[in-house]
Amino acid sequence: MIFALAGFVMAILFIFVGLSFGSLFFVHSQVQKFADDIALAGASRLNDNDRLGQMNNLVARCRQLVYASRETAGLTINSTPDVQMLAQQLLDESRKNAQDLEAERLRLQSLSVGEATAAMNTMFDGQSDHYCFTLAWLRAGEPHLMSMQFGNVLGIDSNVTPMTYIPALVNYDQSKHLINVTTGLYSGNIDASLAGMDKDLHFKLSSLAAPVNNQISPARLMQDNMLQPGDNNQLNSAVRIQLNMQISADSSAFPGTYFVISSTAATSGAAPFVK
Protein backbone atom coordinates (compact mmCIF):
# COMPACT_ATOMS: atom_id res chain seq x y z
CA MET A 1 0.00 0.00 0.00
CA ILE A 2 2.80 2.34 0.99
CA PHE A 3 4.74 1.42 -2.15
CA ALA A 4 1.71 2.10 -4.25
CA LEU A 5 1.26 5.48 -2.62
CA ALA A 6 4.94 6.34 -3.04
CA GLY A 7 4.77 5.24 -6.64
CA PHE A 8 1.74 7.45 -7.18
CA VAL A 9 3.47 10.44 -5.60
CA MET A 10 6.58 9.80 -7.73
CA ALA A 11 4.48 9.57 -10.85
CA ILE A 12 2.78 12.87 -10.01
CA LEU A 13 6.22 14.39 -9.36
CA PHE A 14 7.55 13.13 -12.68
CA ILE A 15 4.51 14.51 -14.43
CA PHE A 16 5.08 17.92 -12.85
CA VAL A 17 8.77 17.87 -13.73
CA GLY A 18 7.93 16.74 -17.24
CA LEU A 19 5.31 19.46 -17.60
CA SER A 20 7.79 22.03 -16.32
CA PHE A 21 10.42 21.02 -18.85
CA GLY A 22 7.79 20.74 -21.53
CA SER A 23 6.53 24.21 -20.74
CA LEU A 24 10.06 25.54 -20.70
CA PHE A 25 10.84 24.11 -24.12
CA PHE A 26 7.52 25.30 -25.44
CA VAL A 27 8.13 28.81 -24.20
CA HIS A 28 11.67 28.78 -25.53
CA SER A 29 10.58 27.65 -28.97
CA GLN A 30 7.78 30.20 -29.03
CA VAL A 31 10.06 33.05 -28.03
CA GLN A 32 12.69 31.84 -30.51
CA LYS A 33 10.05 31.95 -33.22
CA PHE A 34 9.07 35.40 -32.03
CA ALA A 35 12.70 36.53 -32.25
CA ASP A 36 13.00 35.02 -35.73
CA ASP A 37 9.89 36.87 -36.87
CA ILE A 38 11.23 40.15 -35.51
CA ALA A 39 14.63 39.66 -37.14
CA LEU A 40 13.02 38.79 -40.46
CA ALA A 41 10.72 41.81 -40.28
CA GLY A 42 13.71 44.07 -39.71
CA ALA A 43 15.87 42.43 -42.35
CA SER A 44 13.10 42.62 -44.95
CA ARG A 45 12.79 46.33 -44.34
CA LEU A 46 16.48 46.96 -45.01
CA ASN A 47 16.25 46.23 -48.73
CA ASP A 48 12.68 47.34 -49.18
CA ASN A 49 11.91 47.80 -52.90
CA ASP A 50 15.48 46.72 -53.70
CA ARG A 51 16.81 50.10 -52.65
CA LEU A 52 20.17 48.72 -51.55
CA GLY A 53 20.70 46.80 -54.77
CA GLN A 54 19.72 49.80 -56.87
CA MET A 55 22.06 52.05 -54.91
CA ASN A 56 25.00 49.66 -55.37
CA ASN A 57 24.40 49.50 -59.10
CA LEU A 58 24.09 53.26 -59.43
CA VAL A 59 27.28 53.83 -57.44
CA ALA A 60 29.19 51.59 -59.86
CA ARG A 61 27.74 53.45 -62.84
CA CYS A 62 28.47 56.82 -61.29
CA ARG A 63 32.06 55.70 -60.89
CA GLN A 64 32.21 54.88 -64.59
CA LEU A 65 30.68 58.26 -65.44
CA VAL A 66 33.39 60.09 -63.49
CA TYR A 67 36.11 57.92 -65.00
CA ALA A 68 34.88 58.47 -68.58
CA SER A 69 34.39 62.21 -68.00
CA ARG A 70 37.94 62.54 -66.67
CA GLU A 71 39.29 60.54 -69.61
CA THR A 72 37.42 62.71 -72.12
CA ALA A 73 38.54 65.93 -70.43
CA GLY A 74 42.12 64.71 -70.64
CA LEU A 75 41.79 64.00 -74.36
CA THR A 76 40.51 67.48 -75.14
CA ILE A 77 43.63 69.19 -73.77
CA ASN A 78 45.76 68.33 -76.77
CA SER A 79 43.34 67.32 -79.48
CA THR A 80 40.39 69.71 -79.21
CA PRO A 81 41.16 72.59 -76.86
CA ASP A 82 38.12 74.53 -78.10
CA VAL A 83 35.81 72.11 -76.28
CA GLN A 84 37.98 71.84 -73.20
CA MET A 85 35.64 74.14 -71.32
CA LEU A 86 32.67 71.92 -72.12
CA ALA A 87 34.63 68.82 -71.08
CA GLN A 88 35.53 70.47 -67.79
CA GLN A 89 31.92 71.49 -67.24
CA LEU A 90 30.72 67.92 -67.74
CA LEU A 91 33.52 66.54 -65.56
CA ASP A 92 32.63 68.95 -62.75
CA GLU A 93 29.00 67.92 -63.10
CA SER A 94 29.90 64.22 -62.87
CA ARG A 95 32.07 64.80 -59.79
CA LYS A 96 29.40 66.91 -58.10
CA ASN A 97 26.79 64.22 -58.72
CA ALA A 98 29.15 61.55 -57.35
CA GLN A 99 29.43 63.57 -54.14
CA ASP A 100 25.66 64.00 -54.01
CA LEU A 101 25.20 60.29 -54.57
CA GLU A 102 27.53 59.46 -51.67
CA ALA A 103 25.54 61.80 -49.43
CA GLU A 104 22.31 60.15 -50.55
CA ARG A 105 23.82 56.70 -49.94
CA LEU A 106 24.70 57.69 -46.38
CA ARG A 107 21.18 59.01 -45.90
CA LEU A 108 19.77 55.74 -47.22
CA GLN A 109 21.98 53.83 -44.80
CA SER A 110 20.53 55.61 -41.77
CA LEU A 111 17.03 55.57 -43.26
CA SER A 112 17.05 51.81 -43.86
CA VAL A 113 18.42 51.10 -40.39
CA GLY A 114 15.88 53.47 -38.86
CA GLU A 115 12.97 51.90 -40.70
CA ALA A 116 14.14 48.38 -39.84
CA THR A 117 14.51 49.36 -36.17
CA ALA A 118 11.03 50.86 -36.15
CA ALA A 119 9.54 47.76 -37.81
CA MET A 120 11.17 45.47 -35.23
CA ASN A 121 10.13 47.64 -32.31
CA THR A 122 6.55 47.78 -33.57
CA MET A 123 6.37 44.02 -33.92
CA PHE A 124 7.97 43.46 -30.55
CA ASP A 125 5.74 45.93 -28.71
CA GLY A 126 2.61 44.47 -30.26
CA GLN A 127 3.28 40.85 -29.32
CA SER A 128 5.72 40.70 -26.44
CA ASP A 129 3.03 40.37 -23.78
CA HIS A 130 1.72 37.20 -25.45
CA TYR A 131 4.66 35.24 -24.13
CA CYS A 132 4.40 35.77 -20.38
CA PHE A 133 2.44 33.21 -18.38
CA THR A 134 2.16 31.87 -14.89
CA LEU A 135 1.60 28.25 -13.92
CA ALA A 136 1.38 26.84 -10.43
CA TRP A 137 4.98 25.73 -10.60
CA LEU A 138 6.46 28.03 -13.29
CA ARG A 139 6.42 31.66 -14.22
CA ALA A 140 7.71 33.22 -17.43
CA GLY A 141 8.15 36.98 -17.61
CA GLU A 142 7.64 39.23 -20.58
CA PRO A 143 10.55 39.11 -23.05
CA HIS A 144 12.70 42.22 -23.44
CA LEU A 145 14.46 43.37 -26.56
CA MET A 146 18.07 43.59 -25.43
CA SER A 147 19.92 44.59 -28.59
CA MET A 148 19.80 45.03 -32.34
CA GLN A 149 22.99 44.82 -34.32
CA PHE A 150 23.17 45.62 -38.02
CA GLY A 151 25.79 44.43 -40.45
CA ASN A 152 26.29 42.22 -43.48
CA VAL A 153 26.52 38.55 -44.27
CA LEU A 154 30.06 37.30 -44.06
CA GLY A 155 31.59 36.37 -47.42
CA ILE A 156 28.85 37.80 -49.64
CA ASP A 157 30.02 40.01 -52.51
CA SER A 158 28.16 43.02 -53.78
CA ASN A 159 25.44 42.52 -56.37
CA VAL A 160 27.29 44.59 -59.00
CA THR A 161 28.56 42.99 -62.17
CA PRO A 162 31.64 44.78 -63.50
CA MET A 163 31.13 46.75 -66.69
CA THR A 164 33.84 45.60 -69.00
CA TYR A 165 33.83 48.10 -71.82
CA ILE A 166 36.43 50.48 -70.43
CA PRO A 167 39.46 48.16 -70.38
CA ALA A 168 41.70 50.53 -68.40
CA LEU A 169 39.13 50.68 -65.61
CA VAL A 170 38.72 46.90 -65.58
CA ASN A 171 42.50 46.47 -65.36
CA TYR A 172 42.64 48.94 -62.50
CA ASP A 173 39.86 47.10 -60.65
CA GLN A 174 41.60 43.77 -61.10
CA SER A 175 44.93 45.15 -59.95
CA LYS A 176 43.27 46.49 -56.81
CA HIS A 177 41.45 43.17 -56.25
CA LEU A 178 38.10 44.90 -56.27
CA ILE A 179 36.56 42.09 -58.31
CA ASN A 180 36.08 38.59 -56.95
CA VAL A 181 37.41 36.41 -59.76
CA THR A 182 35.39 33.43 -58.54
CA THR A 183 31.99 35.09 -58.67
CA GLY A 184 32.81 37.77 -61.23
CA LEU A 185 31.21 40.40 -59.00
CA TYR A 186 32.59 43.44 -57.24
CA SER A 187 33.54 42.44 -53.71
CA GLY A 188 31.26 43.48 -50.88
CA ASN A 189 31.90 46.35 -48.47
CA ILE A 190 34.62 48.04 -50.48
CA ASP A 191 35.38 51.61 -51.37
CA ALA A 192 36.13 51.42 -55.08
CA SER A 193 37.86 54.79 -55.18
CA LEU A 194 39.47 55.83 -58.44
CA ALA A 195 43.12 56.71 -58.78
CA GLY A 196 44.55 60.10 -59.61
CA MET A 197 42.61 63.32 -59.37
CA ASP A 198 39.34 61.61 -58.46
CA LYS A 199 40.68 59.65 -55.52
CA ASP A 200 38.87 61.99 -53.14
CA LEU A 201 35.53 60.56 -54.24
CA HIS A 202 34.04 57.54 -52.51
CA PHE A 203 32.30 54.74 -54.39
CA LYS A 204 31.22 52.33 -51.70
CA LEU A 205 29.76 49.00 -52.75
CA SER A 206 28.01 47.05 -50.03
CA SER A 207 27.60 43.35 -49.60
CA LEU A 208 24.29 42.09 -50.97
CA ALA A 209 23.26 38.77 -52.50
CA ALA A 210 23.15 39.07 -56.29
CA PRO A 211 20.32 37.52 -58.31
CA VAL A 212 21.06 34.10 -59.74
CA ASN A 213 19.45 33.38 -63.10
CA ASN A 214 17.18 36.35 -62.45
CA GLN A 215 15.99 34.75 -59.20
CA ILE A 216 16.01 37.02 -56.16
CA SER A 217 17.29 35.59 -52.92
CA PRO A 218 14.50 35.93 -50.28
CA ALA A 219 15.00 37.33 -46.78
CA ARG A 220 16.20 34.46 -44.62
CA LEU A 221 17.40 33.40 -41.21
CA MET A 222 21.05 32.60 -40.81
CA GLN A 223 23.56 31.55 -38.21
CA ASP A 224 24.57 34.18 -35.68
CA ASN A 225 28.26 33.86 -36.47
CA MET A 226 27.66 34.74 -40.13
CA LEU A 227 26.91 38.36 -39.27
CA GLN A 228 29.72 40.75 -40.03
CA PRO A 229 29.13 43.83 -37.86
CA GLY A 230 28.48 46.94 -39.92
CA ASP A 231 31.24 49.50 -40.19
CA ASN A 232 32.68 52.05 -42.54
CA ASN A 233 29.25 53.48 -43.36
CA GLN A 234 28.33 50.61 -45.63
CA LEU A 235 24.71 49.78 -46.33
CA ASN A 236 23.56 47.05 -43.93
CA SER A 237 21.95 43.91 -45.22
CA ALA A 238 21.57 41.78 -42.08
CA VAL A 239 20.47 42.19 -38.48
CA ARG A 240 20.90 40.25 -35.24
CA ILE A 241 18.55 40.75 -32.31
CA GLN A 242 18.73 39.45 -28.77
CA LEU A 243 15.75 38.96 -26.47
CA ASN A 244 15.86 37.96 -22.86
CA MET A 245 13.17 36.72 -20.55
CA GLN A 246 13.01 35.63 -16.95
CA ILE A 247 11.77 32.20 -15.97
CA SER A 248 11.21 31.32 -12.37
CA ALA A 249 10.24 28.03 -10.71
CA ASP A 250 8.54 30.09 -8.05
CA SER A 251 5.28 31.21 -9.49
CA SER A 252 4.87 34.00 -7.00
CA ALA A 253 8.03 36.01 -7.46
CA PHE A 254 11.00 36.91 -9.59
CA PRO A 255 14.01 37.05 -9.96
CA GLY A 256 14.42 33.83 -11.75
CA THR A 257 16.73 32.63 -14.47
CA TYR A 258 17.39 34.79 -17.52
CA PHE A 259 17.17 33.16 -20.91
CA VAL A 260 18.83 34.94 -23.81
CA ILE A 261 17.46 34.18 -27.25
CA SER A 262 19.02 35.57 -30.40
CA SER A 263 18.13 35.51 -34.05
CA THR A 264 19.94 36.71 -37.16
CA ALA A 265 18.41 37.38 -40.55
CA ALA A 266 19.63 38.60 -43.91
CA THR A 267 17.62 40.88 -46.15
CA SER A 268 16.34 39.89 -49.56
CA GLY A 269 18.88 39.91 -52.38
CA ALA A 270 19.12 42.38 -55.19
CA ALA A 271 16.76 42.28 -58.14
CA PRO A 272 18.07 41.96 -61.69
CA PHE A 273 19.27 45.34 -62.89
CA VAL A 274 17.39 47.39 -65.44
CA LYS A 275 19.07 47.44 -68.84
Binding site: M55, L58, Q64, L65, L90, D100, Y165
Partner: protein
Protein backbone atom coordinates in the same frame (compact mmCIF):
# COMPACT_ATOMS: atom_id res chain seq x y z
CA UNK B 1 48.02 79.45 -139.80
CA UNK B 2 49.64 78.42 -136.55
CA UNK B 3 47.79 81.14 -134.66
CA UNK B 4 44.50 80.01 -136.20
CA UNK B 5 45.19 76.45 -135.16
CA UNK B 6 46.07 77.44 -131.61
CA UNK B 7 42.88 79.51 -131.37
CA UNK B 8 40.91 76.53 -132.54
CA UNK B 9 42.52 74.26 -129.94
CA UNK B 10 41.88 76.88 -127.22
CA UNK B 11 38.23 77.17 -128.23
CA UNK B 12 37.98 73.41 -128.28
CA UNK B 13 39.29 73.23 -124.70
CA UNK B 14 36.83 75.88 -123.58
CA UNK B 15 34.05 73.96 -125.24
CA UNK B 16 35.11 70.74 -123.57
CA UNK B 17 35.14 72.47 -120.20
CA UNK B 18 31.68 73.97 -120.71
CA UNK B 19 30.33 70.69 -122.05
CA UNK B 20 31.75 68.85 -119.06
CA UNK B 21 30.14 71.27 -116.63
CA UNK B 22 26.78 71.04 -118.38
CA UNK B 23 26.97 67.26 -118.44
CA UNK B 24 27.91 67.13 -114.76
CA UNK B 25 25.05 69.41 -113.79
CA UNK B 26 22.68 67.37 -115.92
CA UNK B 27 23.86 64.16 -114.32
CA UNK B 28 23.42 65.62 -110.84
CA UNK B 29 19.92 66.75 -111.69
CA UNK B 30 19.08 63.38 -113.18
CA UNK B 31 20.42 61.44 -110.22
CA UNK B 32 18.82 63.58 -107.52
CA UNK B 33 15.58 61.54 -107.38
CA UNK B 34 17.63 58.37 -107.13
CA UNK B 35 19.30 59.85 -104.03
CA UNK B 36 16.10 60.86 -102.28
CA UNK B 37 17.34 59.00 -99.18
CA UNK B 38 20.57 60.94 -99.10
CA UNK B 39 21.34 62.53 -95.78
CA UNK B 40 23.73 65.38 -95.03
CA UNK B 41 25.65 63.23 -92.56
CA UNK B 42 27.53 59.95 -92.52
CA UNK B 43 26.40 58.64 -89.15
CA UNK B 44 23.32 59.10 -87.00
CA UNK B 45 23.48 58.83 -83.20
CA UNK B 46 20.11 57.98 -81.67
CA UNK B 47 19.42 59.09 -78.11
CA UNK B 48 16.37 57.30 -76.76
CA UNK B 49 15.04 58.50 -73.41
CA UNK B 50 12.74 56.42 -71.24
CA UNK B 51 11.44 56.89 -67.70
CA UNK B 52 11.98 53.86 -65.48
CA UNK B 53 9.53 53.23 -62.67
CA UNK B 54 10.19 51.46 -59.38
CA UNK B 55 13.65 52.92 -58.84
CA UNK B 56 14.76 54.45 -55.53
CA UNK B 57 11.25 54.37 -54.09
CA UNK B 58 11.90 55.36 -50.49
CA UNK B 59 11.02 58.26 -48.25
CA UNK B 60 12.73 61.49 -49.22
CA UNK B 61 14.55 59.99 -52.19
CA UNK B 62 16.42 62.60 -54.20
CA UNK B 63 17.17 60.13 -56.98
CA UNK B 64 13.76 59.77 -58.56
CA UNK B 65 12.42 59.96 -61.17
CA UNK B 66 14.93 57.91 -63.11
CA UNK B 67 15.29 58.33 -66.86
CA UNK B 68 17.60 56.25 -69.01
CA UNK B 69 19.15 57.63 -72.18
CA UNK B 70 20.07 54.67 -74.38
CA UNK B 71 22.49 55.76 -77.05
CA UNK B 72 23.28 53.91 -80.23
CA UNK B 73 24.62 54.88 -83.62
CA UNK B 74 24.34 53.69 -87.19
CA UNK B 75 25.38 54.74 -90.66
CA UNK B 76 23.10 57.16 -92.47
CA UNK B 77 21.50 54.27 -94.33
CA UNK B 78 20.73 52.52 -91.04
CA UNK B 79 23.38 49.84 -91.32
CA UNK B 80 26.00 48.97 -88.71
CA UNK B 81 23.71 49.80 -85.79
CA UNK B 82 25.79 49.68 -82.62
CA UNK B 83 24.98 50.22 -78.95
CA UNK B 84 27.23 52.90 -77.53
CA UNK B 85 26.21 53.59 -73.95
CA UNK B 86 23.41 54.13 -71.48
CA UNK B 87 23.30 57.23 -69.32
CA UNK B 88 21.39 57.24 -66.03
CA UNK B 89 19.56 60.40 -65.08
CA UNK B 90 18.14 60.86 -61.60
CA UNK B 91 15.90 63.84 -61.09
CA UNK B 92 17.24 65.32 -64.32
CA UNK B 93 20.94 64.99 -63.46
CA UNK B 94 23.43 62.50 -64.90
CA UNK B 95 24.36 59.97 -62.23
CA UNK B 96 25.58 56.97 -64.15
CA UNK B 97 27.15 55.65 -67.31
CA UNK B 98 27.24 52.16 -68.70
CA UNK B 99 29.49 52.05 -71.76
CA UNK B 100 28.60 49.28 -74.18
CA UNK B 101 30.88 49.96 -77.13
CA UNK B 102 33.23 52.42 -78.70
CA UNK B 103 32.40 55.22 -81.11
CA UNK B 104 33.73 53.70 -84.30
CA UNK B 105 33.27 56.73 -86.52
CA UNK B 106 36.12 57.81 -88.70
CA UNK B 107 37.66 61.25 -88.11
CA UNK B 108 36.17 63.89 -90.35
CA UNK B 109 32.89 62.10 -90.93
CA UNK B 110 29.67 63.95 -90.24
CA UNK B 111 27.62 62.76 -87.27
CA UNK B 112 24.05 63.88 -86.65
CA UNK B 113 21.99 63.15 -83.55
CA UNK B 114 18.33 62.42 -83.18
CA UNK B 115 16.28 62.38 -80.00
CA UNK B 116 13.49 59.88 -79.43
CA UNK B 117 11.29 59.85 -76.33
CA UNK B 118 9.98 56.41 -75.42
CA UNK B 119 8.08 57.91 -72.50
CA UNK B 120 4.65 58.96 -73.66
CA UNK B 121 4.09 61.81 -73.03
CA UNK B 122 7.69 62.84 -72.37
CA UNK B 123 8.42 64.35 -68.98
CA UNK B 124 10.72 67.13 -67.82
CA UNK B 125 13.15 64.33 -66.90
CA UNK B 126 13.19 63.18 -70.53
CA UNK B 127 13.96 66.71 -71.76
CA UNK B 128 16.75 67.18 -69.22
CA UNK B 129 18.21 63.77 -70.08
CA UNK B 130 18.06 64.54 -73.80
CA UNK B 131 19.74 67.94 -73.38
CA UNK B 132 22.56 66.58 -71.24
CA UNK B 133 23.04 63.55 -73.49
CA UNK B 134 23.38 65.88 -76.48
CA UNK B 135 26.27 67.67 -74.76
CA UNK B 136 28.03 64.46 -73.78
CA UNK B 137 27.68 62.92 -77.23
CA UNK B 138 28.70 66.18 -78.88
CA UNK B 139 31.89 66.11 -76.82
CA UNK B 140 32.58 62.48 -77.70
CA UNK B 141 32.13 63.28 -81.40
CA UNK B 142 34.52 66.22 -81.17
CA UNK B 143 37.14 64.24 -79.25
CA UNK B 144 36.84 61.58 -81.92
CA UNK B 145 37.76 64.31 -84.48
CA UNK B 146 34.47 63.77 -86.25
CA UNK B 147 32.15 66.54 -87.33
CA UNK B 148 28.91 67.19 -85.41
CA UNK B 149 25.98 67.91 -87.71
CA UNK B 150 22.38 68.76 -86.96
CA UNK B 151 20.59 67.59 -83.83
CA UNK B 152 17.08 66.49 -84.72
CA UNK B 153 14.65 66.72 -81.83
CA UNK B 154 10.94 65.87 -81.71
CA UNK B 155 8.63 68.78 -82.50
CA UNK B 156 6.94 68.74 -79.11
CA UNK B 157 10.20 68.88 -77.15
CA UNK B 158 12.08 71.41 -79.27
CA UNK B 159 11.50 74.35 -76.91
CA UNK B 160 11.99 72.36 -73.71
CA UNK B 161 15.31 70.90 -74.83
CA UNK B 162 16.56 74.35 -75.80
CA UNK B 163 15.49 75.62 -72.37
CA UNK B 164 17.40 72.79 -70.70
CA UNK B 165 20.47 73.51 -72.80
CA UNK B 166 20.40 77.14 -71.74
CA UNK B 167 20.55 75.89 -68.14
CA UNK B 168 23.82 74.17 -69.02
CA UNK B 169 25.77 77.28 -69.99
CA UNK B 170 24.54 77.42 -73.56
CA UNK B 171 22.93 80.45 -75.15
CA UNK B 172 20.90 81.10 -78.24
CA UNK B 173 22.98 82.46 -81.08
CA UNK B 174 21.08 85.46 -82.39
CA UNK B 175 24.02 87.47 -83.74
CA UNK B 176 24.27 88.52 -87.36
CA UNK B 177 26.18 86.04 -89.44
CA UNK B 178 28.64 88.76 -90.41
CA UNK B 179 29.52 89.39 -86.78
CA UNK B 180 32.79 87.66 -85.96
CA UNK B 181 32.75 85.67 -82.75
CA UNK B 182 34.71 82.86 -81.21
CA UNK B 183 33.06 79.96 -79.49
CA UNK B 184 34.02 76.47 -78.46
CA UNK B 185 30.96 74.29 -78.70
CA UNK B 186 28.15 75.12 -81.11
CA UNK B 187 24.96 73.13 -81.44
CA UNK B 188 22.52 73.28 -84.32
CA UNK B 189 19.09 72.02 -83.37
CA UNK B 190 16.22 71.43 -85.74
CA UNK B 191 12.83 69.91 -85.13
CA UNK B 192 11.87 66.69 -86.81
CA UNK B 193 9.40 68.35 -89.18
CA UNK B 194 12.14 70.80 -90.23
CA UNK B 195 10.03 73.84 -89.38
CA UNK B 196 12.22 75.34 -86.69
CA UNK B 197 15.91 75.43 -86.00
CA UNK B 198 18.16 77.12 -83.50
CA UNK B 199 21.88 77.49 -83.05
CA UNK B 200 23.28 77.52 -79.54
CA UNK B 201 26.78 78.18 -78.36
CA UNK B 202 28.57 77.62 -75.10
CA UNK B 203 28.91 80.67 -72.93
CA UNK B 204 32.35 81.74 -71.91
CA UNK B 205 33.93 84.84 -70.42
CA UNK B 206 34.31 86.34 -73.90
CA UNK B 207 30.99 85.32 -75.36
CA UNK B 208 29.26 88.06 -77.39
CA UNK B 209 25.79 87.71 -75.86
CA UNK B 210 26.85 87.71 -72.24
Amino acid sequence: MIRLRSNFISMNKQFIKIAAKVTLTFCLLCFLPAHAGWQPYDWLVTIETEGISGQFEYAGSTLKPVVLARISYARADGSDNTNYQTLWYCNGKPFGLERAGSLNVNPGQGVAMQIIHKTNPPTSGDYAAAANSILRIYLDIRVNQSMPCAIIVPDQSFDQIITDLTKQHFALLNSQLETPYQTGATLFLQDSSNQRNQTLYQLSDTSPNQ
